[in-house]
Symmetry: C2
């Protein structure tokens, strides 16, 4: 029996319930369309859209925006050659593109965080009541550097950025994926008894400088910055599992991205 775009989206929305105040909308496509395959991505780049289409998928579930701004506003991009070519690819192929950002962060537990904890094999560290708080075994002898090394190995990152002392001992830490904003990141460090915040993306003049000052004051505070993509991408495996469970037989694949930047 045919599965429609609308049915797949309903399955993704069901854990939260329909919301109106959300950026999670269909950027292209038709809810009545039959789905032949689903590509799950961190961000629908031009390159991965092509890969998804070539794989036979006609529905892309993307965590981050398609058109270079949080609201996917496009008026300001009218006539822009990059935007126009990307839109032409999407429209001419007929691929449906749905953003799944707000809903998945509202799953209980947060679907991105849960997926990242699984990818890092850190479920045992998590406090079930506070999923962004992680407590290490007492006898761990862990440091900021050893945690950074573990993340690099498990997520395939060649280096991370650190504020504070890499040799600082860590017993409890927080994991704030994505870019929740400086005040949210600083609240983590302030309100919870943690030595380390693992962050996705920051504004340099906000959390970075707060941690720099705290460390220079001799406080036991540090931060590891993974980059936005690496802090969330494997969290989208939660979507793959959900859809494979809901629609056995429907091809659903996670297409991973290279990072947008390289260090030279």
């Amino acid at each position: 029996m045919a599965i429609t775009v609308g049915q797949v989206l309903d399955a993704l929305i069901a854990p939260v319930g329909k919301r109106e105040d959300t950026v999670d909308t269909l950027k292209n496509g038709n809810p009545e369309e039959e789905v032949r395959g689903v590509a799950v991505v961190f961000l629908a780049t031009y390159e991965v859209i092509g890969r998804a289409i070539a794989s036979g998928a006609n529905l892309i579930i993307t965590h981050e925006p398609t058109y270079y701004n949080h609201l996917d506003e496009t008026d300001w991009l009218s006539g822009d050659p990059v935007y126009e070519r990307k839109r032409a690819l999407i429209e001419s192929s007929g691929v449906a593109v749905f953003r799944l950002h707000d809903y998945i962060h509202q799953y209980k537990p947060d679907g991105i965080v849960d997926g990242m904890l699984r990818a890092l094999d850190w479920e045992a560290y998590a406090d079930p009541d506070k999923t962004l708080m992680l407590t290490l075994p007492e006898d761990g002898g862990r440091t900021v550097r050893s945690i950074a090394d573990e993340i690099k190995r498990k997520l395939g990152i060649d280096s991370v950025m650190v504020a504070g002392d890499p040799e600082l001992a860590v017993t409890r830490f927080g994991f704030a994926v994505g870019a929740p904003g400086g005040r949210s990141q600083m609240a983590y460090l302030r309100e919870r008894d943690i030595e380390l915040l693992i962050a996705g993306e920051t504004n340099e003049w906000e959390t970075n400088e707060y941690v720099r000052d705290a460390a220079d004051m001799g406080m036991n505070k540090a931060m590891i910055i993974l980059g936005h993509q690496k802090s969330e991408e494997l969290g989208m495996r939660t979507v793959v599992k959900l859809l494979r469970d809901a629609f056995p037989g429907l091809p659903v694949d996670h297409l991973e991205l290279p990072t947008a930047l390289r260090r030279i």
Copy 2:
């Protein structure tokens, strides 16, 4: 004859004229106070405030905020141990702290950009009518990588982040210091005939992804990201020169900062 804080600030404001709609305010101190020495910094960190005071300065001119947010709002930080200790240092020492952000960017030419072009020895590349546009000599054979290498050497940076192809040939490029926002950065790349944008700080889901897509479409576009601090810090030498010229005999020094982050 005594020079007051107010007189120094008037000299910094004079090239633009007094504005009300600005973040450039006195965060601590008294305009009537006599100035014994001026410390010019990119950002008034806890550590550099201590260095400034130890050097005998009692006026700090800082380009970026003191309290971890653009407007230097402090209500949300009340009781925060990092904020309270930084504020106590500033208040107990009596050091005056003035932010010079909006005014210096409104100098003609932009004082930060002008200072950066001097630090990079790039004044000859600049279009006098468009100071953020730079044109290389025709026979240069320059690439993104060779420009990145030149910047690293001249600014003392060990690595930069690049979107697009490092081997892309570059004849014209733009230099957007600081964090002017994604739409402004993308407008540079769209509206001007440049291959390369040198940026300070970006949001990952905005300009980074625009350049990634453009490069994947085969367009001749690339971006080098310096980090906010490294893209502006030496631009504050403009302030040092202005104040030394205006107040001969007054000690005025630029105190440079280490970066807040290190790569491990």
